[in-house]
Symmetry: D2
Subunit: 132 residues, 4 copies
């Protein structure tokens, strides 16, 4: 039975646009940051809970394809999915549409590290189960 996908809605703000009249490509990724946070909160493993002085979650890879124009005030539907769960890292996928029109797709890979050694460590068990 298909599960309803998680969708975070976010607006293109004036400060997100650039002189071309479209969204500045980097600015879209700030919306991914918000979508990622809300997706994990939705799964019950929000960063405020799982991130602490001992464990950190740096992003180690991002990619994004911009397939359609996004302009000021567009209300974006950002669908977030789990793309991959590894031993010490996971990858989220993002698909951005505006009223059904495809505008962008991207991925962000997040690794779990020990903040003292700055080395990768296994994902916390509650995060792993939530993502699986």
């Amino acid at each position: 039975m298909p599960v309803k996908p998680f969708v975070y809605q976010s607006r293109v703000r004036f400060g997100d646009t650039d002189a071309s009249g479209r969204i500045f490509y980097v600015s879209l990724l700030n919306h991914f940051d918000a979508a990622e946070a809300e997706f994990l909160r939705h799964l019950g493993v929000g960063y405020r809970e799982i991130q602490n002085r001992k464990v950190g979650f740096p992003r180690v890879r991002v990619e994004c394809d911009y397939t359609g124009a996004l302009v000021y005030d567009d209300l974006m539907d950002i669908e977030v999915t789990v793309d991959r769960v590894g031993g010490a890292s996971f990858t989220l996928g993002f698909v951005v549409t505006v009223e059904g029109r495809h505008c962008a797709r991207g991925k962000v890979t997040i690794v779990c590290i020990d903040r003292e050694t700055q080395r990768p460590i296994p994902l916390p068990e509650n995060l792993r189960s939530a993502l699986s």
Copy 2:
């Protein structure tokens, strides 16, 4: 004898602009952040040296008047001056010109705090002397 003013040069980047074709007003303040850092480095009291686990320097007030258009690729001269030195805080002034044309003026007030108590503490002596 007049002292040569400190001027930090910075360019309006494409991501700084908005759909109006001008700089997005908030983005200019990121250039103030860079100018502030370089000004303090120039005085020999760069934040990397004076900021540590015990002492922090949150900004507690900002103001800026935008007097002329700034557009993509403009090379800004940002003059930084010490506007006021208090017991636990100081205020820097910023004047932005492009080829002599006045474009903005602003002020930022920075307070020195004990990071544990989050309460204001006297400015470090070397910072106070550098600013005076």
Copy 3:
């Protein structure tokens, strides 16, 4: 009879914070940008409707006092009010609280210009009435 104030809710995102652990002071102003847009939409004069190739609305002044710490994931209540309505400009006021705790207050002044001449022109009548 008191009118219910307009409040826009917005979260402090991870990208809004800085190495001090608090919100980076400039980032808060991006939330003001969003609150301004939603306030005008709420009044029925959203920028997408009133802004066009002929008329622009550059911000000519911003000020903000930061009175309390804002940290990652804080859910901010940003109350927006009309502070002043002039001939060619208006000023909005912003008060930021988190669970009732006062964190910041600011003002933004917006001027209406003819995009061709880049000179101030009277506020559009529908905007003026909505703000009054």
Copy 4:
């Protein structure tokens, strides 16, 4: 005979960092934006010259791998190279090092469009030759 690579130097600003103490991953891409602009200026085809009301250069893809920590005030060497030149688009490569230590590598693909039709058009000849 090897050609000296183009390197743009840029500092990690306080506003670029996040509460982890490192650079916020999205912020690095703003430095790529600056490096891209300076690289094209260096080639004699700066955007201010080649971009106009008829021709635009949206970015259609970005990717970045973060391989080492970047912290406040790090002076980054961003080496920019031409990765690929296509009919209507080109890809730039970026390698970020700090004092020789590898910190990130990325790519940005830029397409040339007719701003009226919003459709891809061949790269301007002077841009193509400069990139080849």
